[in-house]
Amino acid sequence: MKKILSVLLMALIVGTSLFAAGEAEATKSPITIWAWDPNFNISIMKDAAAIYQKAHPDVEFNIVEMAKADVEQKLHTNLASGTTDGLPDIVLIEDYNGLKYLNSYPGQFSDLTNKINQNDFLKSKVDVAKIGNKYYSMPFDSGVAGFFYRTDMLAEAGYTAADLNNITWDEFCDIAKEYKAKTGNYFFANSKADGGLLRIMLQSNGSWYFDKDGNPYVKDNKSLAEAMRIYKRFIDEDLAYPTNGWTEWVGSINNSTVPTITTGVWIIGSIKAASNQSGDWAVAPCPKLSASGTNASNLGGSSWYVLKNGKSNADAIDFLNTIYGANNNFYQDILVKNGAMGSYIPAFSGVNYSKADEFFGGQKVYDLLSQYAEAIPAVNVGEYTYEADAAVMANMEAYYNGQSIEETLEAIDAQLVNTIL
């Protein structure tokens, strides 16, 4: 009896596993895509897939939404484990992390150099995924920085658009101080722990934590010293409204607590969430660090990468090239629908980019922003941006408390070098 039972059990186990294997073989595998943010990346990807499917009805898509941290974690564990079964075909990676993945998992990502035309995209954008003379990314949303402000609140305090156009960060601080003295309110919100504005300042000066070859560039980095001085002004003169986390930060503009926000173009969606402020907003170029710097910079933004060992590699590349690499109408649509500004240069002259925006008092916001975008200095963000960021911010407190800039830069350099060892 027992024997019969165990034989039956064995047969059942073997049988089901065979059945499972047989089933997986039957259909063509879909293009699997991992990304975060349902209202932005996911929604845009779904639209892109729908357009592609019209011409290629046999291609299926499997668009998986996860939190950003989960995408990164899953990608790391999958790539590190060496098994390719769980890998997607296309994955969204933040630009600061592009080289990190490419260098940590060599041979895992498809070289897109001759597959798409890199000249059609912003140079600052394609360069973040360049190794030697090979390009590995399909550039997606731009993080071009803008200085967004409330015209009504600033007019009340006596400022005009001309006062805010092409200013330096020192002038920005002076205005913030003056505004606070006049109105009793803060001019902008910033978290002491966030290096976002610092990175905006660095890139506007064509500088980064790393030099052109990707080696740490801290000790003699004049731009970094200058940007740190501005951060110290924020603290010493109590210029920034303290916020903790995204919700409070966005809340500070949505609730009219502060009249300005300087950050990437992707903030427009959140600005427009406060529909009662329609017509009260305007944009100016982001402040520059020094007289020699530019009023153009970047914060964040992501790109699509194709996994070489994905199941539908060729389809995935063709899909990206057909939609993201050539479809101008698609870029016009996502600009209106999602507020997504791509980095595809031909789209900048499209009809929706040159439209006046009522929310911004009739300003041609995207036309202006795309002009700023083309002026963004390309920098080598290297593969250790977050390590450098952590090293800088960890040593800022001592600098705020009176440690000299030379000593602080030396401490940052020592920590960064040990971290990337």
């Binding site: 790539l79 303290p242 930060w249 960890a394 920590q415």
Partner: protein, 309 residues
Amino acid sequence: MANEKKINRAGWFFIIPVASLLVIFLLYPIFYSLYLTTTRTKGIVTNFNGINNYIKLFNDPMFFLALKNTFKILFLQVPIMLTSALLFASLLNNKKIKFRGFFRTAIFLPSVTSLIAYAILFKMLFSYEGIVNNTLLSLKFIQTPLDWFSDPTLATFVLILAMVWRWTGYNMIFYLSAMQNISGDLYEAARVDGASDITSFFNITLPLLKPMILFTTVMSTIGTLQLFDEPMNLAQSGTTSSMVGPNNCFLTLSIYIYNLCFKYTPKFGYAATVSYAILVLVAILSFIQFKISSESEKTVTKKVSKSIK
């Protein structure tokens, strides 16, 4: 004899599944991670590195910062939490108190909330325009709102408060169940001898709870050394945050390991080295705690035997 052998063989056969699972999922990872500590890894690029990871560990300011933060939380939070758990347990063990069941449930309830949910809840309570600031303002305790999450001391205070709220009830249940195992005769005898409630707490309850106190201390120590969820969620700040909490005050050892693997360029070898540092610390701390408790046990027995003489 032959029969015994047969039984033995059957026994071995039966433990094969469990044993092989243990080998695959417990022993293999332990030894593999030990091997990892001797490599310099960047994703899948692996080179032999000898003891360089250990040298790096001792030159790493972030590691020592994480160590300092973890121990700060350990030495502040665990004593506060265990003392208040003990206090609540002895109060609620008093049969004269009405609604004991209700209070027990109420104090235990926080420990069934999700780690993430309660961390976010505390973050909201203590936000710049949150209910705590508003209450303190309207009671005129402070003039301007406190920026709880920009100041390391205040932020650590919120973290410890949150953890005490979440875990006190959990530990209280251990103490309560241990207290209910103490025979009522002992208290009665003590009362006959004229001992006050406080005297019997210190001379009966505490000594008899010693094994449970040791257990909760060891568990809380291990838990704190592995602390991850609470600081991680309280620290979420900015769009691309560069610090874990103000001035990195929420950077615990586990968060540092996470960052080494997933936030920074993946250095699994070095991350494994930091994990082994935690292992060594847990071993040392547990050893000390066992040592202390067995020492005091000896003195108790001595005292008792003396008094009998």
